[in-house]
Amino acid sequence: MINFEEEIKRFKPCLEIEQAEESIYAYDSKDVSDILQEMIREIKNDDK
C-alpha cells in the first residue's frame, strides 16, 4: 500500500530559473580522472 506521507517526502522542490546560475556554480563536475589525479598527487606527497 502506498504511504502518502512517506512518498511525499521523495518529492523535492524544482529549481526555478532565478536559481539557475547559482546551481551551475554549485554543480560538482569532478570525474574519475580528477579523482585519480588527486590520488596520485597524495601518493607522491606521501613519498616525499
Binding site: F11, E16, I17, Q19, A20, S23, I40
Partner: protein, 470 residues
Amino acid sequence: MSRLCLKCGSELNDEYTCTNCGLKIDIYEKIQNTSKLLYNQGLQVAKLRDLTGAISLLKRSLKLDKNNIDARNLLGLIYFEIGEVVSALQQWVISKNIQKDDNIADYYIEKIHHNQHKLDTINSAVKKYNQALKYIEQKSEDLAVIQLKKVISLNPNFVKAYCLLALCYIHDNNLAKAKKILLKVLSIDKSNYVALKYYEEITSQDPEESKEKEKIYAIDKKQENYSIKAKPKKESRINPSVLQFGYVIFGVVIGLLVAVFLIVPGKVKSKTKEADNLRKEILTKENEYDTLLDSLNSDKEKLQLDLDEKNEVAKQYEEKAANFEALENLQSAVAFYLDNDKEAAANKLYVVKSENLTSNSKQLYNKLRQEIYPVMAKNAFTEGSRLYSRGKSPVVEKNLNQAVAYFKTATKFASSDDYFADDLLYYEARCHQLLGNNKEAIDLFQKLIDQYPKSSFKTWSNNYLSQLKN
C-alpha cells in the same frame, strides 16, 4: 599513441605516463572509451523512451568523463523532455563552457532564450509545482491538485508534476484518474520508477486488472508447461522425394514466418504509435478542457459578484424611488387638505406607504391621518346610513348600492375603536342581504359577531345569518 597527455596536454614519459598529472594514458583512454560506451547505451535507451534509464547511464558516463560533450548535451535534452528546464540549462551551459565552438548546446540555449514567453511559462509551471508541494505540506491537497493541473497545462511534459498529481489522486482514492495520469507519464518516460511503482500498486488494487493479469500469467504458464512437456519425436526413415517436398514446404513456411515477423511488428509498432498519439491528444484535450473549465468558473464567480453589486445598486434605487413616491403622495395630500378637499386628501393619504417615509414626514402623515380619517369615516357612514334607510323599504337598489359604496369608504378610513364600527358592518351586511349578495352578507354578519360580541346588533345578526344559511 600520442606523446601528449590527453587530460592536461603535458609531455608523456617512456611508460606513457603524464609527467605533469601522473595519469597513465592507456588507463585514461579506457576511462574515456567506457564513458563513450555508456553514452551510446544512454542514447539507445533514450530512443526507446526509457528516459530514467538514459539519465542514469548518462550521469555515469559523465562521472567517468566530464568532458563528454555528447553525453552532457543529451542529458540536458532529456531533462528538457521531462520538463526540468533548469537542469537542462545547467547541463548545456556547462557543456558550452567546456567546448565553446561547434557545440549543439549553443543552439539549445539560444532556442530557449529566444522564446522568452515560453521560458516564463515553464518557470511559472515550476513555481506552481513548488507551491503545490507547499499546499500538500499544509494538508491542502485539493488546492495542490488545482495547482498541479495548471502546471501540466503550462508544461505538458513535466513528469514530476504528473507523478505528484497521481499521488494526490491515489491519496484521494481516485484511482481511475491516477491511472490515466500515470499512463501519460509512462508514455513520456517508459521506465519512470515512481510511475511504475504507483501503477503497479493501483492495478494490484483493481480486481478486474488483477484478474486480467492472472489470466495472462495462466496463459503464459500453460504455454510454458506445454513447451516443457513437448518432447522431440524419434527419427524415422523417410522417402527422399517426400523429404524434398518437405524441404519445399519448410522453405515456404520459413518465408511466411519471416514475412510475418518482419511485417507484423512494423504494423504493430505503427498502430502502437498511433494509439500513443491518440492518448497524448486525449490528455492534451482533457487538460485544455480543465483549464477552460477553471477559467469559466472564475468568470462565473466574477459575473456573480458583478450581478450582486448591480442588484444592490438597483435595490437602493428602488428604495429611493419608493421614498420619493411616498413623499410625493404625502405632499399632494397636504395640498388637497390646504385646499379643504378632505376627500381627495384622504384618498392620497390612503395610498402613502408610511414605511417609506422619513421620521419627520411620518409625523406629518400621522397628524394628517388623525385629522382627516375620522371625519371621512363618519361622513361616509352617515351618508350610507341615510341611503340605507331610504332604500330598504321598499327596496331601492340604487340607494342600497350607493350606501354600500359609502360604507366601503367609511370602512377604509374608520378605526376598529370608532363607536359606529359595528353599526357599519351591520348596515353594509343588510344592504348586501337586501341586494341578494348573500355571500358578502354572511361574511359581514359573521365578522360583526366575531369582532364585536357585545354589539347591540349581535342578536339581529345571528337571526339574519341563520336565515341566509338556510
